[in-house]
């Protein structure tokens, strides 16, 4: 038997994280409930006038998605750090940045993908037109992986800290702003019946950039945090 190659290692780690998520699935539902709840709070706070909701709806859903993503970030390394699995990953004979992509991908499948499933429901709650809901799904599909990728750098920097949670939001939220701007605007624009190709290409560009740069930054940050 020889050492697993890189793609095998990637799949092994991905499968492990998905198995773990399945075995503690009650935890996984929390960010999703948070997403729905926060969105449902807005009509109560600002009034349920359909025109108003239609206008602010894209922004509300995306801000709620941002916060849900932030809330779920801590999960990505917490148990691995506490039980020592993280240092074992660091010492594995595979490039850490590739393993990080596997972890982020698993994390996104667990926490990002479910947001897409409930998003149409929230779109209906806020009276968004059909085209806007379709765009909402596309922007979530492109945008939430970026949130996971950027957020993971922040988690890697704060994983060893006792009060990492508050700092994490300060580190990560400013970096989320471009995604918020392009995505929420795309949904609003398509609701107005205008084309959104430009928005989507910009989001795609952000995704490509995040995929290519953030794993290395995460790996470097983890090495520093664990040293």
């Amino acid at each position: 038997m020889t050492t697993a190659n890189l793609s095998q290692a990637f799949m092994i780690l991905l499968r492990r994280d998905l198995t773990l998520a399945y075995r503690r699935r009650s935890e996984m539902i929390n960010p999703l409930l948070f997403f729905v709840l926060v969105t449902a709070l807005f009509p109560l706070g600002i009034g349920a006038d359909p025109t108003l909701l239609r206008e602010v709806g894209p922004g509300i859903i995306w801000v709620a998605a941002l916060l849900a993503a932030l809330l779920s970030l801590d999960m990505i390394f917490r148990s691995d750090f506490d039980d020592g699995s993280l240092e074992q990953l660091l010492l594995s004979p595979h490039p850490l940045s590739i393993l990080m992509i596997a972890k982020v991908f698993a994390h996104w499948l667990i926490t990002g993908l479910p947001l897409l499933v409930v998003a149409p429901l929230l779109g209906v709650l806020l009276d968004l037109p059909g085209a806007a809901i379709r765009t909402l799904l596309v922007t979530l599909a492109l945008g939430t992986p970026v949130l996971s990728l950027i957020g993971t750098i922040g988690v890697a920097l704060t994983v060893g800290l006792r009060k990492g949670g508050m700092i994490l939001s300060l580190l990560v939220l400013p970096l989320y702003i471009p995604v918020l701007i392009f995505a929420a605007n795309a949904v609003a624009t398509s609701g107005a019946g205008l084309p959104v190709e430009a928005h989507l290409s910009l989001l795609t560009a952000l995704l490509v950039l995040a995929v290519s740069l953030s794993p290395a930054a995460t790996a470097a940050a983890l090495r520093i945090s664990l040293s």
Binding site: T2, L20, R24, D83, P93
Partner: protein, 214 residues
């Protein structure tokens, strides 16, 4: 036996480790070759764990260098990781996974040895626990499960931080036998322990960090 390890050499030169402005140790140098043991002793907080973490490459020394077969371990990076195994204070076991799943994961990410998962569990006297989630294991059983990683992967250098913690006398004897076999194949060991380590007539280098800094 044909499954001897390839000959390797670890050299540490003038290592200095500073933690919170305090020099834990300065200018520490040593060599480690096949079938040799580095036994690190010292009081609590004298830097034993820090030294082990420097040896694995998790932590960077303030000054000094470590080479593995002549190459800097930070340059070798993953190449060095393939030759080492580290068992720290934390077991590195996922409580929601079964014993076999935990071990299988460690094996597939490391360099697998020829030993099957069930044989390794059997040898650590965890036979029959294959499908039990680790959360149901006792502290000593978890420690043995962590140590079973050493069996299913093929690492020349074992870096063990207090391997005997939570083990009973029988468990300790089991681990000592494990280590003796490892040394017999030309393996190396860097270890800290509060318990006396009985390894027969093994070639042991002792470093006492408390005496050095005093």
């Amino acid at each position: 036996m044909t499954d001897n390890y390839p000959v390797a050499a670890l050299e540490a030169r003038e290592l200095t480790c500073i933690r919170d402005d305090r020099a834990l140790f300065t200018d520490l140098s040593f060599d480690l070759g096949p079938a040799q043991v580095l036994l690190i002793e010292g009081r609590n907080g004298s830097g034993k764990t820090s030294l082990l973490r420097i040896l694995c490459g998790i932590r960077m020394p303030e000054t000094g260098s470590i080479t593995w077969n002549g190459g800097n371990i930070y340059r070798l990076a993953t190449g060095y990781n393939a030759s080492t195994a580290y068992i720290g204070h934390k077991d590195g076991i996922k409580l929601e996974l079964t014993a076999a799943e935990n071990l299988g994961f460690a094996r597939s990410l490391g360099s697998p040895s020829g030993i099957s998962l069930s044989a390794a569990l059997e040898q650590m006297e965890l036979g029959g626990y294959d499908d039990i989630q680790a959360i149901n294991l006792s502290a000593g059983q978890k420690r043995r499960l962590a140590l079973a990683r050493l069996l299913v992967t093929r690492s020349i250098l074992w870096i063990l931080d207090e391997p005997f913690t939570s083990l009973d006398t029988h468990g300790i004897a089991m681990v000592e036998e494990l280590i003796t076999n490892h040394l017999a194949k030309g393996g190396m060991l860097a270890v800290t322990s509060h318990h006396p380590v009985r390894l027969g007539n093994a070639d042991i280098t002792r470093i006492n960090l408390s005496e050095r800094s005093a």
